[in-house]
Amino acid sequence: MAGSSTSYYFVIIGTKDNPLYEAEFGSFKQGGDGIPKFREEQRHMNQFIAHSSLDCIEDQQWASKEMYLKTVDKFNNTWVSCFLTGGNIKFLLVHDTRSDEPIRQFFADVYDLYCKTLMNPFYEVNMAIRSQTFDQKIKAAAKKYL
């Protein structure tokens, strides 16, 4: 996976450890084209890595009052960053380079979008997010910060 540009796997996990939304994107920084460069066998590994980090988060969520827990887990050359909302919804980002600040900004934008989704009276907590607008806005945020 160590190519010229980095790739990201992003997933939102509900309160019952159920996935609500997932996306892959590549970096636009350093002349990247924004297309994820995961090898085929890496793509399902990302899901495993994200899933296994949930235990680490459960350990760490009581030690800190911050919502952004920074990197919570590491597997070979991939890190997992986590943002935990007040309603115990987890935003996970699997990435292969460390950069806390841009990821924090990205998560802040995602939180904004998630709150807006939640304001929709037809949306309930733990429901999968299928809105195309949401998807577009997430990808725009990724392009801006990652």
Partner: protein, 226 residues
């Protein structure tokens, strides 16, 4: 998932069901999305737009009264009705919690202790909803796992006159639901119930009794040791 009635549902699933009225459903081939007349979605609204706006008390009283009436048609007894109101409040609480924390921005904190979360509810949350703090926050002396938040004159009860045969009813169950949702959101599962507890000064005083699940106390005890 066809049960998702989101207005953002893509056109491909929507068109298989009854075709929507063309006036409100402006289908465009390019994005496959349904838009409102203004072509703005919920994502284009700023979350702080309604931060300082206020709702008139009469409008609230009317809506709340309608809600109670609606709930009453679908239940068998007072307990059932309170449960229904609690559920309505729960949905409000889930949303309010995230919205409040979002508005705190970078300083937003997740509460990890029982006392912290209870203070968050009786101060920040209560002020955001009712523009005043809850009147008291107490611990029940006899029971380790019970706390009480009291409100001398809950606004939800102001225009509700309870009939004699339903004297047990307290529509504060709605607020209890909001509190329960906030506690649940922060992983402090609890049962919250509203009780009428009048004193000489305040005939409409309501107490919200919070009973935590045993695992919450167990976790809290572990934290003290560490």
């Amino acid at each position: 998932m066809n049960r998702d009635p989101s207005p953002f549902r893509t056109a491909s699933t929507a068109s298989t069901a009854t075709s929507p009225t063309p006036k409100y459903a402006n289908l465009t081939a390019s994005t496959n999305l349904r838009y409102s007349l203004t072509r703005k979605s919920i994502y284009d609204r700023h979350l702080n737009r309604t931060k300082t706006s206020e709702l008139s008390k009469s409008a609230f009283a009317f809506l709340f009264g309608e809600m109670v009436q609606y709930a009453q048609k679908k239940v068998y007894g007072v307990q059932d009705l309170e449960k229904k109101l609690n559920l309505h409040g729960y949905a409000v609480g889930q949303r309010f919690l995230e919205l409040l924390l979002w508005r705190d921005g970078r300083t937003a904190k997740r509460e990890t202790r029982i006392l912290g979360i209870l203070q968050f509810i009786s101060h920040q949350l209560y002020r955001a909803i009712f523009q005043k703090q809850a009147d008291t926050l107490e611990k029940v002396r006899e029971n380790e796992d019970e706390y009480m938040i009291s409100d001398n004159d809950p606004v939800v009860n102001t225009y509700i006159s309870v009939p004699k045969e339903m004297s047990q009813l307290n529509c504060g169950a709605f607020i209890a639901g909001i509190i329960e949702a906030v506690l649940d959101g922060h992983c402090f599962p609890a049962k919250v119930t509203a009780h009428t507890a009048p004193n000489e000064m305040w005939p409409g005083r309501t107490v919200f009794l919070i009973k935590f699940e045993p695992e919450v106390l167990e976790r809290e005890a572990l934290r003290v040791g560490s």
